[in-house]
Symmetry: C2
Subunit: 306 residues, 2 copies
Protein backbone atom coordinates (compact mmCIF):
# COMPACT_ATOMS: atom_id res chain seq x y z
CA UNK A 1 0.00 0.00 0.00
CA UNK A 2 1.36 3.40 -0.97
CA UNK A 3 1.97 6.04 1.65
CA UNK A 4 -1.07 8.36 1.72
CA UNK A 5 0.07 11.09 4.10
CA UNK A 6 3.52 12.34 5.02
CA UNK A 7 2.66 13.00 8.64
CA UNK A 8 -0.47 11.95 10.51
CA UNK A 9 -1.17 13.54 13.89
CA UNK A 10 -3.51 11.76 16.31
CA UNK A 11 -4.98 14.02 18.97
CA UNK A 12 -6.11 11.79 21.82
CA UNK A 13 -4.67 8.28 22.18
CA UNK A 14 -7.56 6.07 23.25
CA UNK A 15 -9.02 2.92 21.70
CA UNK A 16 -9.68 4.45 18.26
CA UNK A 17 -6.42 6.37 17.88
CA UNK A 18 -4.29 3.47 19.09
CA UNK A 19 -6.07 1.13 16.68
CA UNK A 20 -5.53 3.64 13.86
CA UNK A 21 -1.83 3.89 14.71
CA UNK A 22 -1.45 0.12 14.59
CA UNK A 23 -3.42 -0.20 11.34
CA UNK A 24 -1.50 2.67 9.69
CA UNK A 25 1.78 1.03 10.66
CA UNK A 26 0.72 -2.31 9.30
CA UNK A 27 -0.24 -0.75 5.97
CA UNK A 28 2.55 1.82 5.78
CA UNK A 29 0.04 4.65 5.27
CA UNK A 30 1.97 7.46 6.94
CA UNK A 31 5.51 8.74 6.66
CA UNK A 32 5.43 9.65 10.32
CA UNK A 33 2.79 9.20 13.03
CA UNK A 34 2.72 11.76 15.80
CA UNK A 35 0.34 11.68 18.73
CA UNK A 36 -0.59 13.43 21.90
CA UNK A 37 -3.00 13.05 24.80
CA UNK A 38 -4.01 15.32 27.62
CA UNK A 39 -2.94 12.96 30.39
CA UNK A 40 0.73 12.21 30.98
CA UNK A 41 -0.21 8.66 31.90
CA UNK A 42 -1.73 8.08 28.46
CA UNK A 43 1.27 9.63 26.71
CA UNK A 44 3.62 7.42 28.73
CA UNK A 45 1.59 4.33 27.86
CA UNK A 46 1.69 5.26 24.17
CA UNK A 47 5.46 5.71 24.34
CA UNK A 48 5.86 2.39 26.11
CA UNK A 49 3.70 0.66 23.48
CA UNK A 50 5.49 2.43 20.62
CA UNK A 51 2.15 3.44 19.09
CA UNK A 52 3.53 6.57 17.40
CA UNK A 53 6.84 7.61 15.97
CA UNK A 54 6.71 10.63 18.26
CA UNK A 55 4.47 11.24 21.25
CA UNK A 56 4.32 14.99 21.82
CA UNK A 57 3.48 16.82 25.03
CA UNK A 58 1.23 19.34 23.28
CA UNK A 59 -1.31 19.19 20.49
CA UNK A 60 0.32 22.20 18.80
CA UNK A 61 3.60 20.29 18.57
CA UNK A 62 1.88 17.11 17.33
CA UNK A 63 0.10 18.84 14.43
CA UNK A 64 3.12 20.85 13.23
CA UNK A 65 3.78 19.87 9.63
CA UNK A 66 1.04 17.21 9.59
CA UNK A 67 -0.93 16.79 6.37
CA UNK A 68 -3.58 14.78 8.23
CA UNK A 69 -4.77 15.57 11.73
CA UNK A 70 -7.41 13.37 13.36
CA UNK A 71 -9.23 14.44 16.51
CA UNK A 72 -9.77 11.33 18.64
CA UNK A 73 -10.98 12.99 21.83
CA UNK A 74 -14.46 13.04 23.39
CA UNK A 75 -16.90 15.15 21.40
CA UNK A 76 -17.28 17.61 24.27
CA UNK A 77 -13.67 18.83 24.09
CA UNK A 78 -13.21 18.92 20.32
CA UNK A 79 -13.95 22.64 20.14
CA UNK A 80 -11.23 23.41 22.69
CA UNK A 81 -8.73 21.23 20.87
CA UNK A 82 -9.58 22.90 17.56
CA UNK A 83 -9.00 26.34 19.11
CA UNK A 84 -5.61 25.16 20.33
CA UNK A 85 -4.38 23.62 17.09
CA UNK A 86 -6.09 25.90 14.55
CA UNK A 87 -3.20 28.37 14.26
CA UNK A 88 -0.68 25.53 13.82
CA UNK A 89 -2.33 23.69 10.94
CA UNK A 90 -0.34 23.83 7.73
CA UNK A 91 -1.61 24.94 4.32
CA UNK A 92 -3.67 22.18 2.67
CA UNK A 93 -3.78 19.93 5.71
CA UNK A 94 -6.84 17.72 6.18
CA UNK A 95 -8.50 17.84 9.58
CA UNK A 96 -10.82 14.99 10.46
CA UNK A 97 -12.22 13.43 13.62
CA UNK A 98 -13.73 10.17 14.85
CA UNK A 99 -16.56 11.55 16.99
CA UNK A 100 -19.87 9.72 17.30
CA UNK A 101 -21.85 12.92 16.67
CA UNK A 102 -21.31 15.10 13.65
CA UNK A 103 -23.38 18.29 13.68
CA UNK A 104 -22.11 19.34 17.12
CA UNK A 105 -18.52 18.67 16.08
CA UNK A 106 -18.94 20.78 12.98
CA UNK A 107 -20.53 23.60 14.99
CA UNK A 108 -17.74 23.72 17.55
CA UNK A 109 -14.70 22.87 15.44
CA UNK A 110 -15.23 24.73 12.15
CA UNK A 111 -15.06 28.28 13.58
CA UNK A 112 -11.49 27.67 14.78
CA UNK A 113 -10.08 26.50 11.47
CA UNK A 114 -8.17 28.62 8.94
CA UNK A 115 -9.53 28.64 5.40
CA UNK A 116 -6.57 26.73 4.03
CA UNK A 117 -7.56 23.55 5.90
CA UNK A 118 -9.77 20.76 4.50
CA UNK A 119 -12.20 19.93 7.31
CA UNK A 120 -13.75 16.51 6.61
CA UNK A 121 -15.53 15.13 9.69
CA UNK A 122 -15.60 11.34 10.01
CA UNK A 123 -16.91 8.55 12.18
CA UNK A 124 -15.64 4.97 12.11
CA UNK A 125 -18.44 2.71 13.41
CA UNK A 126 -16.10 0.54 15.38
CA UNK A 127 -15.21 0.16 18.99
CA UNK A 128 -15.32 -2.17 21.92
CA UNK A 129 -16.25 -1.79 25.56
CA UNK A 130 -12.58 -1.26 26.40
CA UNK A 131 -10.90 2.13 26.31
CA UNK A 132 -7.47 3.71 26.49
CA UNK A 133 -4.23 3.31 24.52
CA UNK A 134 -3.76 -0.32 25.52
CA UNK A 135 -7.17 -1.33 24.11
CA UNK A 136 -6.28 -0.74 20.46
CA UNK A 137 -5.75 -3.41 17.84
CA UNK A 138 -5.01 -3.11 14.13
CA UNK A 139 -8.04 -5.13 13.01
CA UNK A 140 -10.64 -2.91 14.71
CA UNK A 141 -11.84 -1.32 11.47
CA UNK A 142 -11.89 -4.41 9.30
CA UNK A 143 -15.21 -4.77 7.53
CA UNK A 144 -16.68 -1.91 9.59
CA UNK A 145 -18.17 1.24 8.10
CA UNK A 146 -16.60 4.66 8.32
CA UNK A 147 -18.94 7.58 7.60
CA UNK A 148 -17.45 10.76 6.17
CA UNK A 149 -19.38 14.03 6.29
CA UNK A 150 -17.82 16.30 3.63
CA UNK A 151 -18.23 20.06 4.05
CA UNK A 152 -19.07 22.70 1.45
CA UNK A 153 -15.92 23.67 -0.40
CA UNK A 154 -13.97 20.48 0.30
CA UNK A 155 -11.44 19.59 -2.37
CA UNK A 156 -12.71 16.30 -3.92
CA UNK A 157 -9.13 15.01 -3.99
CA UNK A 158 -8.85 15.49 -0.22
CA UNK A 159 -12.06 13.51 0.33
CA UNK A 160 -10.82 10.72 -1.94
CA UNK A 161 -7.52 10.56 -0.10
CA UNK A 162 -9.25 10.27 3.27
CA UNK A 163 -11.55 7.60 1.87
CA UNK A 164 -8.55 5.64 0.59
CA UNK A 165 -6.94 5.99 4.03
CA UNK A 166 -9.91 4.39 5.82
CA UNK A 167 -10.29 1.73 3.16
CA UNK A 168 -6.63 0.84 3.57
CA UNK A 169 -7.31 0.26 7.29
CA UNK A 170 -10.01 -2.24 6.32
CA UNK A 171 -13.15 -0.08 6.50
CA UNK A 172 -15.94 0.51 4.02
CA UNK A 173 -16.63 4.20 3.49
CA UNK A 174 -19.90 6.04 2.96
CA UNK A 175 -20.64 9.74 2.90
CA UNK A 176 -23.65 11.31 4.55
CA UNK A 177 -24.82 14.71 5.73
CA UNK A 178 -24.47 15.54 9.39
CA UNK A 179 -28.16 15.58 10.32
CA UNK A 180 -28.82 12.20 8.76
CA UNK A 181 -25.70 10.76 10.38
CA UNK A 182 -26.86 11.93 13.78
CA UNK A 183 -30.31 10.39 13.32
CA UNK A 184 -28.97 7.07 12.01
CA UNK A 185 -26.55 6.85 14.90
CA UNK A 186 -29.24 7.77 17.41
CA UNK A 187 -31.04 4.60 16.29
CA UNK A 188 -28.14 2.22 15.81
CA UNK A 189 -26.01 3.36 18.70
CA UNK A 190 -27.01 6.22 20.98
CA UNK A 191 -30.48 5.06 22.04
CA UNK A 192 -29.32 1.43 22.48
CA UNK A 193 -26.48 2.59 24.69
CA UNK A 194 -28.73 4.70 26.88
CA UNK A 195 -31.19 1.84 27.18
CA UNK A 196 -28.44 -0.59 28.15
CA UNK A 197 -27.06 1.84 30.73
CA UNK A 198 -30.56 2.24 32.13
CA UNK A 199 -31.26 -1.47 32.42
CA UNK A 200 -27.95 -2.14 34.12
CA UNK A 201 -28.59 0.74 36.50
CA UNK A 202 -32.03 -0.63 37.40
CA UNK A 203 -30.59 -4.06 38.11
CA UNK A 204 -27.89 -2.58 40.30
CA UNK A 205 -30.42 -0.57 42.21
CA UNK A 206 -32.98 -3.27 42.93
CA UNK A 207 -33.16 -4.03 46.62
CA UNK A 208 -34.82 -7.44 46.44
CA UNK A 209 -32.26 -8.98 44.10
CA UNK A 210 -28.62 -8.84 45.15
CA UNK A 211 -25.79 -7.74 42.88
CA UNK A 212 -24.25 -11.16 43.30
CA UNK A 213 -27.44 -12.75 41.96
CA UNK A 214 -27.46 -10.34 39.03
CA UNK A 215 -23.88 -11.24 38.25
CA UNK A 216 -24.23 -15.00 38.66
CA UNK A 217 -27.36 -15.27 36.61
CA UNK A 218 -26.51 -12.71 33.94
CA UNK A 219 -26.02 -15.22 31.11
CA UNK A 220 -29.78 -15.28 30.50
CA UNK A 221 -29.59 -12.04 28.50
CA UNK A 222 -28.53 -9.28 30.84
CA UNK A 223 -24.79 -9.68 30.31
CA UNK A 224 -25.10 -8.45 26.69
CA UNK A 225 -26.40 -5.16 28.09
CA UNK A 226 -23.54 -4.89 30.55
CA UNK A 227 -20.97 -4.99 27.77
CA UNK A 228 -22.52 -1.94 26.14
CA UNK A 229 -22.99 -0.28 29.52
CA UNK A 230 -19.28 -0.71 30.25
CA UNK A 231 -18.33 1.76 27.52
CA UNK A 232 -16.40 4.91 28.32
CA UNK A 233 -18.54 7.23 30.52
CA UNK A 234 -17.00 10.50 29.34
CA UNK A 235 -17.38 9.67 25.68
CA UNK A 236 -21.00 8.68 26.18
CA UNK A 237 -21.94 11.63 28.35
CA UNK A 238 -20.73 13.87 25.52
CA UNK A 239 -22.59 11.88 22.88
CA UNK A 240 -25.92 12.31 24.64
CA UNK A 241 -25.39 15.98 25.42
CA UNK A 242 -24.41 16.76 21.83
CA UNK A 243 -26.87 14.55 19.95
CA UNK A 244 -29.70 15.48 22.26
CA UNK A 245 -32.59 16.02 19.87
CA UNK A 246 -32.17 12.88 17.77
CA UNK A 247 -31.55 10.71 20.82
CA UNK A 248 -34.62 12.05 22.62
CA UNK A 249 -36.72 11.54 19.50
CA UNK A 250 -35.73 7.88 19.25
CA UNK A 251 -36.17 7.34 22.98
CA UNK A 252 -39.65 8.81 22.67
CA UNK A 253 -40.50 6.29 19.96
CA UNK A 254 -38.95 3.54 22.05
CA UNK A 255 -41.04 4.41 25.08
CA UNK A 256 -44.19 4.46 22.98
CA UNK A 257 -43.50 0.97 21.64
CA UNK A 258 -42.49 -0.33 25.05
CA UNK A 259 -45.78 0.86 26.48
CA UNK A 260 -47.67 -0.93 23.71
CA UNK A 261 -45.82 -4.17 24.47
CA UNK A 262 -46.34 -3.74 28.23
CA UNK A 263 -50.03 -3.33 27.52
CA UNK A 264 -50.01 -6.53 25.44
CA UNK A 265 -48.42 -8.36 28.37
CA UNK A 266 -50.90 -6.91 30.83
CA UNK A 267 -53.90 -7.80 28.69
CA UNK A 268 -52.52 -11.19 27.67
CA UNK A 269 -52.36 -10.37 23.96
CA UNK A 270 -50.09 -13.23 22.90
CA UNK A 271 -50.70 -12.69 19.19
CA UNK A 272 -49.38 -9.14 19.30
CA UNK A 273 -46.26 -10.28 21.14
CA UNK A 274 -45.61 -13.22 18.86
CA UNK A 275 -46.01 -11.14 15.71
CA UNK A 276 -43.67 -8.46 17.08
CA UNK A 277 -40.98 -10.96 18.07
CA UNK A 278 -41.18 -12.70 14.72
CA UNK A 279 -40.62 -9.44 12.85
CA UNK A 280 -37.49 -8.56 14.81
CA UNK A 281 -35.80 -11.85 13.93
CA UNK A 282 -35.54 -10.79 10.28
CA UNK A 283 -33.36 -7.79 11.12
CA UNK A 284 -30.80 -10.05 12.78
CA UNK A 285 -30.67 -12.19 9.66
CA UNK A 286 -29.97 -9.08 7.57
CA UNK A 287 -27.08 -8.04 9.81
CA UNK A 288 -25.46 -11.44 9.54
CA UNK A 289 -25.92 -11.55 5.79
CA UNK A 290 -24.36 -8.10 5.53
CA UNK A 291 -21.28 -9.42 7.32
CA UNK A 292 -21.78 -7.07 10.28
CA UNK A 293 -21.95 -9.83 12.91
CA UNK A 294 -21.12 -13.47 13.40
CA UNK A 295 -23.79 -16.15 13.20
CA UNK A 296 -21.88 -18.22 15.77
CA UNK A 297 -24.19 -18.82 18.77
CA UNK A 298 -23.73 -16.25 21.55
CA UNK A 299 -21.40 -14.19 19.32
CA UNK A 300 -18.95 -17.10 19.36
CA UNK A 301 -18.26 -16.62 23.06
CA UNK A 302 -17.56 -20.36 23.39
CA UNK A 303 -14.54 -19.91 21.16
CA UNK A 304 -13.46 -16.77 23.00
CA UNK A 305 -13.57 -18.68 26.28
CA UNK A 306 -10.99 -21.14 25.07
Amino acid sequence: MARLYERVALIGLGLIASSMALAMRREGLAGEITGTARSAETRDAARELGLCDRVCDSAAEAVAGADLVVLCVPVGVMGDVAAEIGPHLVQGATLSDVGSVKQAVIDTVAPHLPDHVQFIPGHPLAGTEHSGPRAGFAELFENRWCLLVPQPGNDPAAIERLRAFWEAMGAHVDTMDAAHHDLVLAVTSHAPHLIAYTMVGVADDLRRVTDSEIIKYSAAGFRDFTRIAASDPTMWRDVFLTNRDATLEILGRFTEELFALQRAIRTGDGEHLHAYFTRTRAIRRGIIEAGQDTDAPDFGRMKARK
Copy 2:
Protein backbone atom coordinates in the same frame (compact mmCIF):
# COMPACT_ATOMS: atom_id res chain seq x y z
CA MET B 1 -19.10 -40.45 35.43
CA ALA B 2 -21.58 -42.98 36.80
CA ARG B 3 -24.96 -43.42 35.17
CA LEU B 4 -27.48 -41.33 37.11
CA TYR B 5 -30.77 -42.36 35.52
CA GLU B 6 -31.81 -45.53 33.72
CA ARG B 7 -34.02 -43.76 31.23
CA VAL B 8 -34.29 -40.03 30.59
CA ALA B 9 -37.21 -38.78 28.53
CA LEU B 10 -36.95 -35.38 26.84
CA ILE B 11 -40.30 -33.84 25.94
CA GLY B 12 -39.62 -31.27 23.26
CA LEU B 13 -36.42 -31.41 21.20
CA GLY B 14 -35.26 -27.84 20.76
CA LEU B 15 -32.00 -26.11 21.65
CA ILE B 16 -32.03 -27.07 25.34
CA ALA B 17 -33.15 -30.69 24.96
CA SER B 18 -30.76 -31.38 22.10
CA SER B 19 -27.89 -29.89 24.10
CA MET B 20 -28.90 -32.02 27.11
CA ALA B 21 -28.96 -35.14 24.95
CA LEU B 22 -25.48 -34.43 23.64
CA ALA B 23 -24.11 -33.63 27.11
CA MET B 24 -25.75 -36.73 28.67
CA ARG B 25 -24.24 -38.86 25.94
CA ARG B 26 -20.80 -37.43 26.42
CA GLU B 27 -20.95 -38.07 30.16
CA GLY B 28 -22.82 -41.39 30.04
CA LEU B 29 -25.47 -40.10 32.43
CA ALA B 30 -28.43 -42.10 31.14
CA GLY B 31 -28.96 -45.75 30.32
CA GLU B 32 -31.33 -44.73 27.56
CA ILE B 33 -32.43 -41.37 26.20
CA THR B 34 -35.89 -41.14 24.72
CA GLY B 35 -37.36 -38.04 23.19
CA THR B 36 -40.38 -36.66 21.46
CA ALA B 37 -41.57 -33.44 19.87
CA ARG B 38 -44.92 -32.28 18.65
CA SER B 39 -43.79 -31.64 15.08
CA ALA B 40 -42.89 -34.55 12.81
CA GLU B 41 -40.21 -32.37 11.24
CA THR B 42 -38.44 -31.95 14.60
CA ARG B 43 -38.71 -35.67 15.36
CA ASP B 44 -37.25 -36.49 11.96
CA ALA B 45 -34.39 -34.05 12.50
CA ALA B 46 -33.67 -35.62 15.90
CA ARG B 47 -33.62 -39.07 14.34
CA GLU B 48 -31.31 -37.92 11.59
CA LEU B 49 -28.96 -36.33 14.14
CA GLY B 50 -29.12 -39.38 16.42
CA LEU B 51 -29.84 -37.15 19.41
CA CYS B 52 -31.78 -39.84 21.32
CA ASP B 53 -31.65 -43.61 21.50
CA ARG B 54 -35.34 -43.61 20.61
CA VAL B 55 -37.44 -40.79 19.20
CA CYS B 56 -41.09 -41.56 20.01
CA ASP B 57 -44.16 -40.27 18.24
CA SER B 58 -46.01 -39.55 21.47
CA ALA B 59 -45.05 -38.12 24.85
CA ALA B 60 -46.83 -41.01 26.60
CA GLU B 61 -44.59 -43.47 24.82
CA ALA B 62 -41.44 -41.43 25.54
CA VAL B 63 -42.04 -41.26 29.30
CA ALA B 64 -42.93 -44.95 29.73
CA GLY B 65 -40.46 -46.43 32.20
CA ALA B 66 -38.43 -43.20 32.48
CA ASP B 67 -36.98 -42.37 35.89
CA LEU B 68 -36.30 -38.80 34.74
CA VAL B 69 -38.64 -36.82 32.52
CA VAL B 70 -37.69 -33.28 31.49
CA LEU B 71 -40.22 -30.93 29.93
CA CYS B 72 -38.38 -28.87 27.31
CA VAL B 73 -41.37 -27.22 25.67
CA PRO B 74 -42.53 -23.59 25.78
CA VAL B 75 -43.95 -22.65 29.18
CA GLY B 76 -47.40 -22.09 27.71
CA VAL B 77 -47.92 -25.73 26.78
CA MET B 78 -46.38 -27.41 29.83
CA GLY B 79 -49.74 -27.87 31.50
CA ASP B 80 -51.13 -29.72 28.46
CA VAL B 81 -48.07 -31.92 28.26
CA ALA B 82 -48.31 -32.72 31.97
CA ALA B 83 -51.95 -33.72 31.55
CA GLU B 84 -50.95 -36.01 28.72
CA ILE B 85 -48.04 -37.75 30.45
CA GLY B 86 -49.29 -37.72 34.07
CA PRO B 87 -50.99 -41.12 33.93
CA HIS B 88 -47.92 -42.70 32.33
CA LEU B 89 -45.27 -41.60 34.83
CA VAL B 90 -43.79 -44.48 36.81
CA GLN B 91 -43.55 -44.76 40.59
CA GLY B 92 -40.66 -42.67 41.94
CA ALA B 93 -39.92 -40.92 38.65
CA THR B 94 -38.55 -37.39 38.79
CA LEU B 95 -40.30 -34.82 36.61
CA SER B 96 -38.41 -31.62 35.90
CA ASP B 97 -38.51 -28.89 33.28
CA VAL B 98 -36.31 -26.20 31.79
CA GLY B 99 -38.84 -23.36 31.61
CA SER B 100 -37.77 -19.75 32.10
CA VAL B 101 -40.65 -19.09 34.51
CA LYS B 102 -41.27 -21.21 37.58
CA GLN B 103 -44.45 -20.25 39.43
CA ALA B 104 -46.65 -20.57 36.34
CA VAL B 105 -45.12 -23.94 35.52
CA ILE B 106 -45.79 -25.17 39.03
CA ASP B 107 -49.36 -23.91 38.91
CA THR B 108 -50.17 -25.60 35.62
CA VAL B 109 -48.09 -28.79 35.87
CA ALA B 110 -48.47 -29.93 39.49
CA PRO B 111 -52.25 -30.62 39.38
CA HIS B 112 -51.71 -33.27 36.67
CA LEU B 113 -49.08 -35.29 38.51
CA PRO B 114 -49.68 -38.42 40.57
CA ASP B 115 -48.42 -38.36 44.15
CA HIS B 116 -45.74 -40.93 43.46
CA VAL B 117 -43.77 -38.50 41.25
CA GLN B 118 -40.99 -36.18 42.42
CA PHE B 119 -41.74 -32.85 40.78
CA ILE B 120 -38.59 -30.70 40.87
CA PRO B 121 -38.87 -27.68 38.54
CA GLY B 122 -35.62 -26.44 37.06
CA HIS B 123 -34.18 -23.75 34.83
CA PRO B 124 -30.76 -23.87 33.19
CA LEU B 125 -29.65 -20.28 32.50
CA ALA B 126 -28.19 -21.10 29.15
CA GLY B 127 -29.23 -20.62 25.59
CA THR B 128 -28.36 -18.89 22.38
CA GLU B 129 -30.35 -16.97 19.80
CA HIS B 130 -30.67 -20.16 17.74
CA SER B 131 -33.44 -22.69 18.26
CA GLY B 132 -34.47 -26.17 17.20
CA PRO B 133 -32.85 -29.62 17.40
CA ARG B 134 -29.94 -28.66 15.18
CA ALA B 135 -28.94 -25.77 17.44
CA GLY B 136 -27.83 -27.94 20.37
CA PHE B 137 -24.24 -28.48 21.49
CA ALA B 138 -22.87 -30.44 24.43
CA GLU B 139 -21.00 -27.49 25.97
CA LEU B 140 -24.06 -25.25 26.32
CA PHE B 141 -24.32 -25.70 30.10
CA GLU B 142 -20.64 -25.46 30.93
CA ASN B 143 -20.03 -22.94 33.68
CA ARG B 144 -23.65 -21.77 33.49
CA TRP B 145 -26.08 -21.83 36.43
CA CYS B 146 -29.03 -24.15 36.70
CA LEU B 147 -31.67 -23.14 39.24
CA LEU B 148 -33.75 -25.85 40.90
CA VAL B 149 -37.00 -25.03 42.67
CA PRO B 150 -37.71 -27.95 45.02
CA GLN B 151 -41.32 -28.49 46.07
CA PRO B 152 -42.72 -29.37 49.50
CA GLY B 153 -42.44 -33.09 50.08
CA ASN B 154 -39.57 -33.67 47.64
CA ASP B 155 -37.30 -36.57 48.56
CA PRO B 156 -33.89 -34.97 49.31
CA ALA B 157 -32.19 -37.84 47.47
CA ALA B 158 -34.15 -37.01 44.30
CA ILE B 159 -33.04 -33.39 44.52
CA GLU B 160 -29.42 -34.43 45.01
CA ARG B 161 -29.59 -36.76 42.03
CA LEU B 162 -30.98 -34.02 39.80
CA ARG B 163 -28.30 -31.64 41.06
CA ALA B 164 -25.60 -34.20 40.26
CA PHE B 165 -27.13 -34.61 36.80
CA TRP B 166 -26.83 -30.90 35.98
CA GLU B 167 -23.39 -30.67 37.50
CA ALA B 168 -22.26 -33.58 35.35
CA MET B 169 -23.38 -31.59 32.30
CA GLY B 170 -21.10 -28.76 33.42
CA ALA B 171 -23.54 -26.49 35.27
CA HIS B 172 -23.42 -24.94 38.72
CA VAL B 173 -26.62 -25.58 40.67
CA ASP B 174 -28.50 -23.34 43.09
CA THR B 175 -31.92 -23.78 44.66
CA MET B 176 -34.42 -20.97 45.00
CA ASP B 177 -38.13 -20.50 45.62
CA ALA B 178 -40.36 -19.86 42.63
CA ALA B 179 -41.29 -16.25 43.40
CA HIS B 180 -37.68 -15.20 43.86
CA HIS B 181 -36.64 -17.05 40.74
CA ASP B 182 -39.27 -15.24 38.72
CA LEU B 183 -38.15 -11.85 40.03
CA VAL B 184 -34.44 -12.53 39.50
CA LEU B 185 -35.12 -13.69 35.95
CA ALA B 186 -37.35 -10.71 35.26
CA VAL B 187 -34.28 -8.56 35.91
CA THR B 188 -31.55 -10.65 34.33
CA SER B 189 -33.48 -11.93 31.37
CA HIS B 190 -37.13 -11.11 30.77
CA ALA B 191 -37.01 -7.31 30.93
CA PRO B 192 -33.76 -7.15 28.90
CA HIS B 193 -35.34 -9.33 26.23
CA LEU B 194 -38.47 -7.19 25.99
CA ILE B 195 -36.35 -4.05 25.82
CA ALA B 196 -34.18 -5.51 23.06
CA TYR B 197 -37.25 -6.61 21.10
CA THR B 198 -38.69 -3.12 21.48
CA MET B 199 -35.55 -1.31 20.32
CA VAL B 200 -35.21 -3.54 17.28
CA GLY B 201 -38.89 -3.01 16.47
CA VAL B 202 -38.48 0.77 16.69
CA ALA B 203 -35.49 0.70 14.36
CA ASP B 204 -37.35 -1.45 11.88
CA ASP B 205 -40.31 0.87 11.95
CA LEU B 206 -38.53 4.19 11.50
CA ARG B 207 -39.39 5.79 8.20
CA ARG B 208 -36.49 8.21 7.94
CA VAL B 209 -33.78 5.58 8.35
CA THR B 210 -33.84 2.63 5.99
CA ASP B 211 -33.51 -0.97 7.11
CA SER B 212 -30.40 -1.24 4.98
CA GLU B 213 -28.84 1.65 6.93
CA ILE B 214 -29.79 0.01 10.22
CA ILE B 215 -28.17 -3.20 9.08
CA LYS B 216 -25.00 -1.67 7.64
CA TYR B 217 -24.34 0.55 10.62
CA SER B 218 -25.41 -1.83 13.37
CA ALA B 219 -21.92 -2.47 14.74
CA ALA B 220 -22.10 0.70 16.80
CA GLY B 221 -24.19 -1.05 19.49
CA PHE B 222 -27.50 -2.02 17.95
CA ARG B 223 -26.41 -5.45 16.73
CA ASP B 224 -26.06 -6.71 20.32
CA PHE B 225 -29.76 -6.04 20.76
CA THR B 226 -30.63 -7.88 17.58
CA ARG B 227 -29.03 -11.08 18.83
CA ILE B 228 -31.32 -11.11 21.86
CA ALA B 229 -34.28 -10.05 19.73
CA ALA B 230 -33.69 -13.03 17.42
CA SER B 231 -34.64 -15.49 20.18
CA ASP B 232 -37.54 -17.89 19.72
CA PRO B 233 -40.85 -15.90 19.51
CA THR B 234 -43.08 -18.62 20.95
CA MET B 235 -40.87 -19.24 23.94
CA TRP B 236 -40.67 -15.54 24.69
CA ARG B 237 -44.37 -14.83 24.21
CA ASP B 238 -45.03 -17.49 26.84
CA VAL B 239 -42.41 -16.11 29.20
CA PHE B 240 -43.99 -12.66 29.23
CA LEU B 241 -47.52 -13.93 29.55
CA THR B 242 -46.61 -16.23 32.46
CA ASN B 243 -44.18 -13.98 34.34
CA ARG B 244 -46.36 -10.95 33.85
CA ASP B 245 -46.25 -9.30 37.26
CA ALA B 246 -42.50 -9.45 37.85
CA THR B 247 -41.74 -8.38 34.28
CA LEU B 248 -44.11 -5.42 34.47
CA GLU B 249 -42.65 -4.41 37.82
CA ILE B 250 -39.12 -4.31 36.42
CA LEU B 251 -40.24 -2.55 33.26
CA GLY B 252 -41.93 0.06 35.45
CA ARG B 253 -38.66 0.66 37.27
CA PHE B 254 -36.83 0.75 33.97
CA THR B 255 -39.16 3.38 32.53
CA GLU B 256 -38.78 5.50 35.63
CA GLU B 257 -34.97 5.45 35.34
CA LEU B 258 -35.09 6.03 31.61
CA PHE B 259 -37.21 9.13 32.14
CA ALA B 260 -34.69 10.42 34.69
CA LEU B 261 -31.84 9.95 32.22
CA GLN B 262 -33.85 11.51 29.39
CA ARG B 263 -34.44 14.46 31.64
CA ALA B 264 -30.71 14.71 32.36
CA ILE B 265 -30.06 14.76 28.62
CA ARG B 266 -32.73 17.41 28.04
CA THR B 267 -31.44 19.65 30.82
CA GLY B 268 -27.78 19.05 30.00
CA ASP B 269 -26.96 17.45 33.35
CA GLY B 270 -23.63 15.89 32.38
CA GLU B 271 -22.66 15.07 35.94
CA HIS B 272 -25.71 12.89 36.46
CA LEU B 273 -25.03 11.02 33.23
CA HIS B 274 -21.34 10.54 33.93
CA ALA B 275 -21.96 9.25 37.45
CA TYR B 276 -24.62 6.83 36.20
CA PHE B 277 -22.42 5.46 33.41
CA THR B 278 -19.48 5.03 35.77
CA ARG B 279 -21.56 2.98 38.19
CA THR B 280 -22.74 0.55 35.52
CA ARG B 281 -19.18 -0.30 34.50
CA ALA B 282 -18.58 -2.06 37.82
CA ILE B 283 -21.33 -4.61 37.18
CA ARG B 284 -19.65 -5.70 33.97
CA ARG B 285 -16.40 -6.22 35.86
CA GLY B 286 -18.23 -8.46 38.35
CA ILE B 287 -19.68 -10.60 35.58
CA ILE B 288 -16.29 -11.15 34.01
CA GLU B 289 -14.69 -11.95 37.36
CA ALA B 290 -17.48 -14.44 38.06
CA GLY B 291 -16.62 -16.23 34.82
CA GLN B 292 -20.03 -15.47 33.29
CA ASP B 293 -18.65 -13.68 30.25
CA THR B 294 -15.49 -13.20 28.27
CA ASP B 295 -13.36 -10.08 28.67
CA ALA B 296 -12.31 -10.34 25.02
CA PRO B 297 -13.32 -7.11 23.24
CA ASP B 298 -16.72 -7.37 21.54
CA PHE B 299 -17.31 -10.80 23.13
CA GLY B 300 -14.37 -12.14 21.12
CA ARG B 301 -16.25 -11.68 17.85
CA MET B 302 -12.95 -11.12 16.04
CA LYS B 303 -11.99 -14.70 16.80
CA ALA B 304 -15.44 -15.96 15.80
CA ARG B 305 -15.11 -14.20 12.44
CA LYS B 306 -12.02 -16.20 11.56
